[in-house]
Symmetry: C2
Subunit: 328 residues, 2 copies
């Protein structure tokens, strides 16, 4: 992976994944530009880049804005296209905003790349949610696309766009389908983007972690450092061009076990089973975990950070920086 002097744009650069990726790219000597709209409630946080701000170019702007794209796209070698609206329930409550942020913005970005910089390398962050309720586990990339919420539909549409700009225009695109990603830099105000983020907040406030239903549904998780490593490999290996890869976690755990592990990280931590809210149940995918065999085979990537280690680091981070994440 030679990122030295490479010109790299990260859309959604102030969020959990974008900001952690930016740290690694700055370390690797890349010339990094972040584009972020800092839309309230969407996870962008300037505190995430406090240590590297002088070492990069920050562009606060909207990806749907032509002038912004005309400033940011030309001259880049690589775009990590991570911007988006991540909330599933939010997408059902306000589908038109989700359409704007997860569909139109990406079509505008791709059209700008095609016009202004057609050779630019693109890595798009999608989600395993495009597969909907799994017909089999672990999920793999061949599983049908059958999203069951607006957000999943729109992320699938974003994927199809990226695949099309590869097939029709030859643009060098890679798609990663992420699983639940967590770590220092995520939004913890509420559960809109990540229930795990909200659990960190509740834990640090001495409140019990609410588990919907019986808690037996299983999930896998990626610490953000593992996710960033996958992005870096995808962006630098020609084998990844034109490919779609599912990421997956080291462990598959039930939400009950996850809550129990997290509760033990803080004195007095606890959890509680609560009835599944009807609006959440409508779009719940049940149990899910991913087969990451294809990215392991092509890019030699696998998750390395155990949940125990990753959660410990995450909770420690928010214990120190709590105020910077609950006031935004």
């Amino acid at each position: 992976m030679n990122y030295s002097q490479m010109k790299v744009l990260i859309t959604g650069g102030l969020g959990l994944i974008g900001s952690n990726l930016a740290h690694r790219l700055v370390e690797l000597g890349a010339r990094v530009t972040l584009l972020d709209g800092l839309l309230p409630g969407h996870g962008g946080n300037l505190w995430n880049i406090r240590a590297i701000k002088p070492a990069l170019t920050l562009h606060l702007g909207d990806m749907r804005d032509q002038a912004t794209l005309e400033t940011c796209i030309p001259g880049q070698d690589l775009v990590f296209n991570l911007a988006g609206q991540g909330g599933h329930l939010d997408s059902m409550l306000d589908p038109l905003t989700d359409l704007e942020l997860n569909v139109r913005a990406h079509l505008e970005l791709l059209e700008s790349c095609r016009r202004l910089n057609p050779a630019v390398r693109l890595v798009f962050s999608s989600t395993r949610q495009v597969h909907g309720i799994p017909r089999y586990l672990p999920l793999n990339e061949s599983h049908p696309i059958q999203p069951i919420d607006i957000n999943g539909i729109h992320k699938a549409t974003g994927e199809y766009y990226h695949r099309l700009y590869h097939s029709a225009y030859g643009m060098p695109v890679t798609i990663l389908r992420l699983t639940n990603t967590y770590g220092a830099g995520m939004r913890i105000v509420d559960a809109r983007q990540s229930f795990l983020g909200y659990w960190v907040r509740l834990l640090l406030e001495g409140k019990p972690l609410p588990i919907f239903g019986d808690g037996r549904q299983v999930r896998d998780f990626n610490h953000v450092d593992d996710c960033v490593e996958a992005l870096l490999r995808a962006g630098s290996n020609p084998l990844a061009i034109g490919k779609i890869y599912l990421l997956g976690g080291c462990e598959v755990v039930s939400l009950l076990d996850l809550a129990s592990s997290m509760a033990r990280l803080v004195p007095g931590g606890g959890y509680a089973l609560v009835p599944f809210p009807v609006e959440n149940k409508k779009i719940d995918i049940g149990s899910c975990c991913n087969d990451f065999g294809n990215i392991k085979s092509d890019l030699d990537w696998e998750p390395c950070i155990t949940l125990a280690n990753g959660l410990r680091r995450t909770v420690d981070y928010y214990a120190e920086h709590f105020a910077h994440y609950v006031s935004v």
Copy 2:
């Protein structure tokens, strides 16, 4: 099929399929409302309803407009949601307009139905194009969704929306994936929506029919009367709720054979092989034909009108009404 006194809205009601469906519904005693934006170049034509205009309510308006939807949706028993942008090449040249017409408009419609009339029966016209380049023939509904142009992506997104409003909100939805539909009422000005329409024009102007490539690619076709029959059955049979059905033609023919048959319909008719335009080739799906076994089994539908008969009737119609279709 009892459509008598049923309140039926047809979006895209002035196009080929909508207007022919309107004729049948008026005959069946339904209370028909047409919604059409008459957007230039998209196929809506007032001439299509000249004979039934007094028997229906015509609403000229945009499906993206809230006030329009609030006028049209309440009180309907059934919506045939046929509106859209049908041009594949157009969708590549102007993807953002295709997004507006094939995605946002349908999300607005579904949201309005959910809010104002959640029990309304919905039938959505999709396309076999959502399957992209077939991995096997004939296509069936289980074939992967892998669109290869913007239009196919957006129609797939529209399908996912309709499926979601069924799964999450229990709305009674049916999706038909149409194949090439032709007949009296289609746009013939150019090949933007249907090459077959344009061929009718060229034929009547004494010009040769251009065949891209070697003409060996095969397709199937539905005369609009067969398509309308499928819509009527889908809208009236409870078995169809929550289902997706592919339509298909009586015959599978090569474009060369099709051109040759059409050329014989008019004295002096001819055709010519021309090089495949590069922009068309990029999004060409090659050969395609559909297995309509599922709709035959559930709704006892099958195509009845042979190409020879359907093309004859179509060419006769345009010979008589030519001026009303080339001036719009």
